[in-house]
């Protein structure tokens, strides 16, 4: 650890970053969306989506074996040539940056509707982006170490949610299983796939990992932990509120946390939910921004990425306010726009790249 170069992380830290990538917005938004589509069976959706992300992990892992010290964008440039590769690079960077902005928008939406109701959105965004500007300049190391600690908090949080609600869960609400049939569960999973396959953001961090033993195992473990936590949280939410109420509430999990009451003293614990939740959502958006900034520097050949940070933050504040002037546009984006195009970028393009990689490696082997 002495005199290590900055910006290296260990495999265990990467494993802890996966739930932090998926859970923050997932646990807040997933119960609502699957409540609409899947009813009782909402707690099965994370498992189905996780299986798709396992495929993506396999693809990314084998691509990483072929190009050990390069990020996703760098070996994309190598595989498909400079023209297509660089445009892919720009596309992915913009995707990461935009998704990061959406996470911040969701955070600010959550804060403005529940905690700070009269504060203008501009102030909340400026505060969040100001803090992020400092934290992004600390590099991947800062993100990974923060992730170490916040992972513990997230875990404790979800376990508290599940355990604290056990006395209020109406077990009958979870039966009959699949009253709306598999179609509901499948369409719910389709939305969740785009969240679970955000594992691709972690693919931008692979070159920074020292000692890449068991990389895929750790990623798979991360996805498994996420599925367990997410499906437990969804099951508890559906059990306490009922499937229709879950679909009706915008922040269903938060309502369950507010409902937990054990005796006269252990009540009103939403502060202990809000503080880790804001931190975890900001960490998620930081990971997206970091990936996006790295992508930009690699595509455009910029040497120091610190130069990009402050202009990017200002730009994000402005675009957040201009592109999404009200809450309806944000929820519309999340329900209709994001799942569809995210799947292409997170699943199909890596799969295509993988096929190209296989063809090329087979060709080079036959040439020898």
């Amino acid at each position: 650890m002495t005199n290590e170069s900055l910006n290296t992380i260990t495999v265990k830290q990467l494993y802890r970053l996966i739930p932090l990538l998926i859970l923050p917005t997932g646990a807040l938004a997933l119960p609502t969306m699957v409540g609409v589509k899947a009813g009782n069976g909402g707690w099965l959706c994370p498992w189905l989506s996780a299986s798709v992300s396992l495929v993506v992990i396999y693809i990314l892992g084998s691509l990483d074996r072929g190009f050990p010290n390069q990020t996703f964008i760098e070996y994309a440039i190598e595989l498909v040539g400079a023209a297509i590769g660089r445009s892919l690079g720009v596309l992915y960077s913009l995707f990461f940056l935009f998704s990061g902005m959406m996470v911040v928008l969701e955070t600010s939406g959550f804060i403005v509707s529940t905690v700070l109701k009269e504060t203008p959105r501009l102030i909340v965004l400026v505060a969040i982006y100001g803090a992020m500007a400092y934290m992004l300049s600390l590099g991947l190391e800062g993100i990974a170490r923060l992730g170490d600690i916040l992972y513990m908090f997230l875990f404790v949080l979800i376990v508290t949610l599940v355990v604290g609600s056990t006395k209020d869960v109406h077990v009958n609400a979870l039966f009959p299983l699949l009253d709306q049939g598999w179609s509901g569960v499948l369409s719910g999973s389709y939305i969740a796939v785009s969240w679970f396959c955000e594992v691709i953001v972690a693919a931008m961090f692979f070159p920074s990992v020292k000692y890449k033993s068991h990389l895929r195992t750790h990623l798979v473990m991360g996805v498994l932990v996420t599925s367990i936590l997410l499906s437990a949280a969804t099951a508890v939410t559906i059990g306490v509120l009922g499937p229709q109420e879950t679909a009706r509430n915008v922040y269903a999990t938060f309502n369950v946390v507010r409902y937990i009451q054990w005796g006269e003293f252990f009540q009103h614990i939403d502060a202990f939910f809000i503080i880790p939740w804001i931190s975890v959502m900001i960490l998620k958006s930081m990971m997206f921004y970091h990936a996006g900034v790295m992508g930009l520097t690699q595509t455009c050949g910029i040497s120091r990425y610190q130069l990009l940070i402050v202009p990017l933050m200002v730009l994000s504040v402005v675009s957040a306010l201009w592109l999404f002037p009200n809450e309806f546009s944000i929820s519309e984006y999340h329900r209709f726009v994001f799942p569809n195009y995210a799947v292409v970028l997170e699943v199909f393009i890596p799969a295509l790249l993988w096929i190209v990689f296989l063809i090329k490696s087979r060709a080079s082997r036959t040439n020898r």
Binding site: S113, T114, V115, L116, K117, E118, T119, P120, L122, I123, V126, A127, G130, A133, D168, H170, N172, A173, F175, P176, D179, V240, L241, G242, P243, Q244, E245, R248, N249, N255, R258, Y259, Q261, Q267, H268, V310
Partner: protein, 395 residues
């Protein structure tokens, strides 16, 4: 320039942040509402709120006048809709209202029967004002009468009503229904919500009203359709699977016997689904003797007949509740839900409205299994065992 960019960024951000704390409000800058009452006055909603005031005169060092401790103040607002009425509440108050610490909601009968009820619930849950832990009541008369009733042990009526609802869980003459339970029942197919009933009773000692909670109001969807009295509510609670500690009084071999429930569990099993549905309800009851006026101590051989008596009482209560619910054409018990869980598709396709189509024709069989565990700390009534001892001494 280079070294001042950091400072300038900090200055810009802090000046933006410091332009005002929009949400900052101290505790004494808000009027905390502890209880909300919803009334209807000539087709316009009237909302009464009880504002919690700091308990005066509790500390001696405060140096204030300790003659009249104030507990809570009532404010009223009226409007053309529930939203307007709540907004108009703050017209006469010098501080903005804080509705997030609300403990209880009291709806008057006329309000609960009207269309305003669902908009009231929507207002509560949409603006994230209230936790779902607030208990709900329907009052026989005006809700504002309840709110101005005398508070016996608690600080204000809201806390009092919340405490009373906890108490009803033991005696089971009324139901504890909080906002979450209500919304859950409303949105679950095959079961309808039931809300505790509250009324005022006059207090002869002092010239004000006390609060009495007994029975419940039956809702079909978002509308009140009828009342159940205490024993009927108890039957419904048993059928819903809620356990409590009610006491049952009956006659047995010329003696008055009272037993106290330790727990009671019921399971509803649909036996026949096609055509007219038939349900089987299995009830298990455990309890203790708490009063017995007989000469002889109760022995093992007496237990079966005692338990049979208890079973008869339970069955009678339950049958009465089911008959009443069928009369009101509202399934508050959950038979529809049991049917739905077994055959969801049949439930949706066969019954347009289970409450009116299927439930009144449903047949329910009751099986009760009562067991008396113990008889308390005394074996028989006092003063009755002397004769036995005298017989032994003569010999």
């Amino acid at each position: 320039m280079q070294k001042y960019w950091f400072v300038s960024v900090c200055v810009v951000i802090s000046s933006l942040l410091a332009t005002g704390c929009w949400n900052y409000r101290d505790l004494d800058g808000e009027a905390l509402v502890g209880c909300l009452g919803y009334d209807l006055d000539s087709q316009k909603p009237v909302i009464t709120a009880e504002v919690i005031l700091p308990p005066n005169g509790k500390t001696q060092e405060s140096g204030r006048d300790v003659t009249t401790p104030k507990k809570g103040e009532l404010v009223q607002g009226r409007g053309r809709s529930v939203y307007e009425a709540i907004d108009n509440l703050s017209e006469g108050v010098s501080k903005p209202l804080q509705l997030a610490l609300n403990n209880a909601y009291v709806f008057s009968e006329s309000f609960a029967r009207s269309n305003f009820f669902s908009s009231g619930l929507d207002r509560i849950t949409r603006m994230d004002l209230a936790r779902r832990t607030g208990v709900m009541y329907v009052s026989a008369g005006q809700a504002s009468d309840i709110l101005s009733a005398k508070v016996v042990l608690a600080d204000n009526i809201g806390t009092e009503l919340k405490g009373i609802s906890e108490q009803t869980k033991a005696e089971q003459l009324s139901i504890r229904e909080d906002l979450n339970d209500f919304l859950f029942d409303v949105s679950t197919p095959g079961i309808e919500p039931m809300v505790s009933r509250v009324e005022t009773q006059s207090n002869e000692v002092e010239r004000n009203a006390l609060v009495k909670v007994e029975g419940s109001g039956v809702f079909r969807g978002h509308q009140l359709v009828g009342w159940l009295d205490g024993p009927e509510t108890r039957g419904v609670l048993w059928l819903r699977g809620k356990t409590g500690h009610p006491t049952l009084l009956f006659q047995w071999k010329g003696n008055q016997v009272q037993v106290r429930t330790r727990d009671i569990n019921a399971r509803i099993v649909p036996i026949r689904i096609q055509k007219e549905p038939v349900f089987l309800v299995r009830i298990h009851w455990h309890g203790r003797l708490i009063m017995y006026t007989g000469h002889k101590p109760v022995e093992q051989d007496d237990l079966p007949s005692l338990q049979q008596e208890v079973g008869k009482i339970i069955e009678k209560t339950v049958n009465h509740s089911i008959a009443r619910a069928q009369e009101l054409q509202t399934d508050v018990i959950g038979f529809g839900n049991a049917l739905y869980r077994k055959e969801p598709n049949y439930f949706w396709t066969q019954y347009h409205d289970w409450n009116t189509d299927g439930f009144p024709q449903a047949k329910i069989q009751i099986q009760v299994d009562a067991s008396i565990i113990g008889g308390g700390l005394a074996s028989h009534s006092p003063g009755e065992g002397v004769n036995h001892n005298r017989q032994i001494r003569v010999q």
